[in-house]
């Protein structure tokens, strides 16, 4: 199958999975299709509650039940201005990077990302409560998690900007060598620093080995703990 249209669209019969692009090509494979899409590509999965946009996407889709039209992703490799939005019951999460590989893992999605990776938590008022950046990393997306990203690891240098729960118009900025995000905590390690931003009067913390940020239900920082040196 060769596709050379001004706008390419694929949608399964139930309207669960849709792929759009300016142009691309595809071929039929066992129980599905393999697409190579270019230009303003978007991939939307209603059942997984996520949308992927990028300049270029190689995607394999298959049917979750035999005999039905292909309605789920097996793998998607996206490059160029990649943006992944994972909705959830609580906050939505957005992951952007230069290159992303997405693979479903049960009800979750496993993401490997590289090149200016950014993860944002967006609340119901579309306000950013947390932004984490790194040079590369991985994440697990889950629509049933409180926030769209259930876990993530970013390699450095990393930076996290998070709203302080005590002051909505202030943020604390953390930097370090790497970070791990697990639900309500963000742990940074390797020459960690923290500084107040905006209206924050926190000040500056430096020369820290490891630091854990605790998030409240709104995804704001409720507190943090740190450790430096060999104190037991």
């Amino acid at each position: 199958m060769l596709l050379a249209q001004s706008v390419f669209t694929y949608r399964d019969t139930k309207g669960d999975l849709s792929l759009k692009s300016r142009d691309g090509q595809g071929e039929m494979i066992s129980n599905g299709y393999k697409f190579i899409l270019r230009g303003a590509v978007s991939v939307t999965s209603k059942s997984r509650a996520f949308t992927l946009t990028a300049d270029r996407v190689e995607a394999t889709v298959s049917a979750t039940k035999s005999g039905e039209s292909p309605n789920d992703l097996r793998i998607a490799k996206a490059t160029g201005k990649v943006k992944l939005v994972q909705s959830s019951a609580g906050q939505n999460s957005t992951l952007t990077a230069n290159s992303v590989t997405y693979q479903p893992l049960g009800n979750q999605g496993k993401v490997e990302a590289s090149g200016s990776v950014t993860i944002q938590n967006i609340d119901s008022a579309k306000r950013e409560s947390m932004r984490a950046t790194g040079s590369s990393g991985s994440a697990t997306l889950d629509k049933t998690a409180q926030r769209g990203v259930r876990t993530a690891e970013l390699k450095g240098p990393v930076r996290v900007d998070v709203v302080q729960s005590s002051k909505s118009n202030s943020k604390v900025v953390f930097t370090g060598g790497r970070l791990t995000l697990t639900g309500d905590t963000i742990t940074l390690s390797g020459n960690v620093k923290a500084s107040g931003s905006g209206a924050s009067q926190f000040g500056n913390l430096s020369n820290v080995d490891s630091l854990t940020v605790y998030l409240n239900d709104k995804g704001e920082m409720s507190r943090f703990t740190f450790k430096s040196g060999g104190l037991d």
């Binding site: 000040g203 703990t225 430096s228 040196g229 060999g230 104190l231």
Partner: protein, 296 residues
């Protein structure tokens, strides 16, 4: 180049900085290991091990050092509510240093930062160093209390000038425990407001002042008592009670006094200007050279 090397050595000697508030008044440094974090109020909590671990509050002219320290810093809430040390426990050897020059420089920096009027430069400088094995500090944005539960030693030094003379004064005091209240608005450039020292207390004051065109005059006083109460805010006096002995070796006071209570009144530069001895019986050979001074 030589100065650059010296500056680098000094920076290294201070050790790495852990925390600094936005106004750079509160600084924590010199630690070898640390733990802590923020609490629900946004306060910064810390536990330090160091040799020595150092907490500095420049707006109070205060540096606190110890081998173990734990405390809470309240970050600035606004321009008018600067950061301050809410609590601090220091284990020893524990050292408290008060330095009026540090305080004045911090006040100047703060004025420049917020575009407010800089304070007038003081005519003198005061430093005080307290060494002990442990102390506890509890403070707010405007005052603070030191509790020193065990034996300690204070060494204080004042120097400066008035329109008519120059002075230098050292004071040493030892005691078995003490409570000292700080107030940045106290009359001295050292923000000690009041204090109670339990004894046996020993105080030694050595002062030299030189008036224009006159030879230097030296005042040496020694005091012993069961308790000493400092009031540098309203009465500007040192009150010694219980088994009091005061001896003046030279200068304004010569001789000895014994009594239940001896009050040493000070002027604005902390110079002893008058002694009042009360009690029954009192023994005194004190010759007070100042007008209005009291014998027994």
């Amino acid at each position: 180049m030589k100065w650059l090397v010296v500056a680098i050595c000094l920076a290294g000697a201070q050790g790495r900085t852990l925390y600094e508030d936005p106004t750079r008044s509160i600084r924590i440094y010199g630690y070898s290991s640390a733990e802590g974090g923020t609490n629900a109020n946004g306060d910064f909590e810390f536990q330090l091990v160091g040799n020595p671990a150092t907490v500095e509050s420049r707006l109070q002219g205060m540096t606190l050092q110890g081998s173990i320290a734990s405390g809470v810093v309240a970050p600035a809430r606004s321009e008018k509510e600067p950061a301050f040390i809410r609590s601090l426990n220091v284990d020893g050897p524990a050292v408290l240093t008060l330095d009026s020059a540090l305080m004045y420089q911090a006040q100047r920096d703060n004025a420049a930062r917020f575009g407010t009027k800089a304070p007038e430069e003081p005519k003198g400088t005061d430093t005080a160093k307290l060494t002990t094995d442990r102390f506890v500090y509890s403070g707010t944005g405007s005052d603070g209390i030191f509790t020193i539960p065990n034996a300690f030693r204070i060494e204080a030094r004042s120097e400066g000038q008035t329109p008519s003379l120059q002075y230098q004064q050292t004071m040493t005091a030892t005691g078995s425990k003490a409570t000292i209240n700080l107030d940045p608005a106290a009359i001295s450039t050292i923000p000690i407001e009041t204090g109670t020292i339990s004894g046996p207390v020993k105080v030694h004051i050595d002062r030299t002042e030189t008036a224009l065109g006159k030879p230097s005059e030296k005042t040496i006083m020694d005091g012993e008592a069961d308790q000493v109460v400092l009031d540098l805010k309203s009465e500007r006096a040192i009150t010694l009670t219980g088994n009091v002995k005061v001896r003046g070796e030279s200068g304004l006071y010569l001789g000895t006094s014994e009594g239940d209570t001896v009050v040493i009144f000070l002027d604005e530069s902390l110079k002893p200007i008058r002694v009042r001895v009360t009690g029954s019986p009192t023994k005194s050979t004190l010759r007070d050279k100042s007008a209005g001074g009291g014998g027994k």
